[in-house]
Amino acid sequence: MADSPDFETLVARHYEPLYQFAFSLTREEAEACDLTQQTFCVWAAKGHQLRDVSKVKTWLFTTLHREFLGSRRRQKRFPHLELEAAELELPVISPDVINRLDAAQVLDVLKQVDDIYQAPVALFYLQDYSYKEIAEILDVPIGTVKSRLTRGLGKLHQLLAETENQPPTP
């Protein structure tokens, strides 16, 4: 097993993608900063319990997501939907439309997607995590990840397509 990286190296390596994930969930800079910092605080206190150092990144994202859920005090159970059960209308959106938007606009659109789809979609686009890794981070079955991604991406694309028809913000 490789040695655990020191705290500064760990922060330098992971704070930015963690912040991006936090920001995609909260859309609030201060809250995203707090979540990121809290994640590293949890690491400082409990990180030594992680035996497999190769799982550090997943551990950090899982912790951040849990902290986010804790901050929202969400207690409701998420429905488990298999991919086959998802009804989907595939949207048509030009890549040019996406390219005309900036990151904040894309995340604003993501914010309009149902909460349970936001985290898997953000992880899907942010870090190239495999479906299995996203399932580990979110602590849900891989089938649930796929169904949420299918619905979440569908909704995101649909909302992005709608922005195409909206007049530009002055």
Partner: protein, 254 residues
């Protein structure tokens, strides 16, 4: 797998990732090679995915976030270190204090000011003999004295010098030395003395209760306060015989 099913599957495909290793995705990808409409859709899809990935990654962390996380954690570490130091210091202080208490208690008898030397013992016994003690048993019978001392827990298995055995005994008392009982056997060499008076005293004590006694039975003579004394050891006992006079006087009784 039809075209719509393939699109549904490929919606989760990100170009340049390990998504292609998924068996369902691989099958759908294979279909893009044979279906022109799907291939066209897939090309657009890859461009969308690439653009969206880029947008998500454009979000930059605020300047100074990294430094803030590290500095606050370092502050926390320092705070914890100070807490730990204080606790360690308190524990060390407590242990040191406890050790000091233990040492003081252990060594107290040695440094309590009580002189447990032979000279001190001789002086104390001489002063006892000359300062109005009371005999606890008045008898001229040495056997009775020995029995009484034994019953009282004082040294009783002593051996008298031959000359001393011939001196009339007046009685005995039990004195104390360093928490040990001392057998005080009182003799009367002057027949004119009253029955409860004596002028020659033998003190017997456990030799371990007196410090720095030579490991020999050689007689040691000394002026001990108002009396002249002779001291010797035999077995586990220390004997001190005292009377008024000098060495020649006391030698007559040994």
């Amino acid at each position: 797998m039809n075209i719509n099913e393939a699109k549904t599957i490929l919606l989760l495909y990100r170009p340049g990732t390990a998504d292609a290793e998924d068996p369902q995705v691989a099958a759908a990808l294979a279909l893009t090679k044979t279906d022109a409409e799907l291939a066209c859709w897939f090309e657009q899809h890859c461009a969308r995915q690439t653009a969206l990935c880029a947008k998500f990654r454009q979000v930059g962390a605020p300047a100074g976030l990294k430094e803030q996380i590290i500095s606050e954690q370092l502050a926390e570490i320092r705070l914890n270190a100070r807490r730990k130091e204080r606790i360690t210091a308190a524990v060390a202080l407590s242990v040191t204090f406890a050790a000091l208490i233990f040492i003081v208690i252990s060594l107290a008898p040695h440094f309590s000011g009580a002189d447990r030397s032979l000279g001190a013992y001789q002086n104390q016994m001489a002063n006892t003999a000359t300062s109005g003690y009371g005999m606890s048993l008045l008898t001229n019978d040495l056997t009775q004295i020995r029995t009484y001392l034994a019953q009282s827990g004082a040294p009783a298995d002593y051996t008298l010098p031959p000359a001393l055995e011939k001196i009339p005994v007046a009685g005995c008392a039990i004195e104390s030395w360093s928490d040990k009982k001392v057998s005080m056997i009182c003799f009367r060499t002057n027949p004119a003395l009253a029955a409860n008076q004596s002028d020659l005293w033998l003190f017997v004590v456990d030799r371990k209760s007196v410090k720095h006694i030579p490991e020999t039975s050689v007689l040691q003579f000394a002026q001990s306060g108002p009396l002249y004394t002779a001291a010797w050891t035999q077995g586990d006992k220390l004997y001190v015989l005292g009377t008024r006079g000098d060495e020649a006087t006391i030698r007559k009784f040994l």
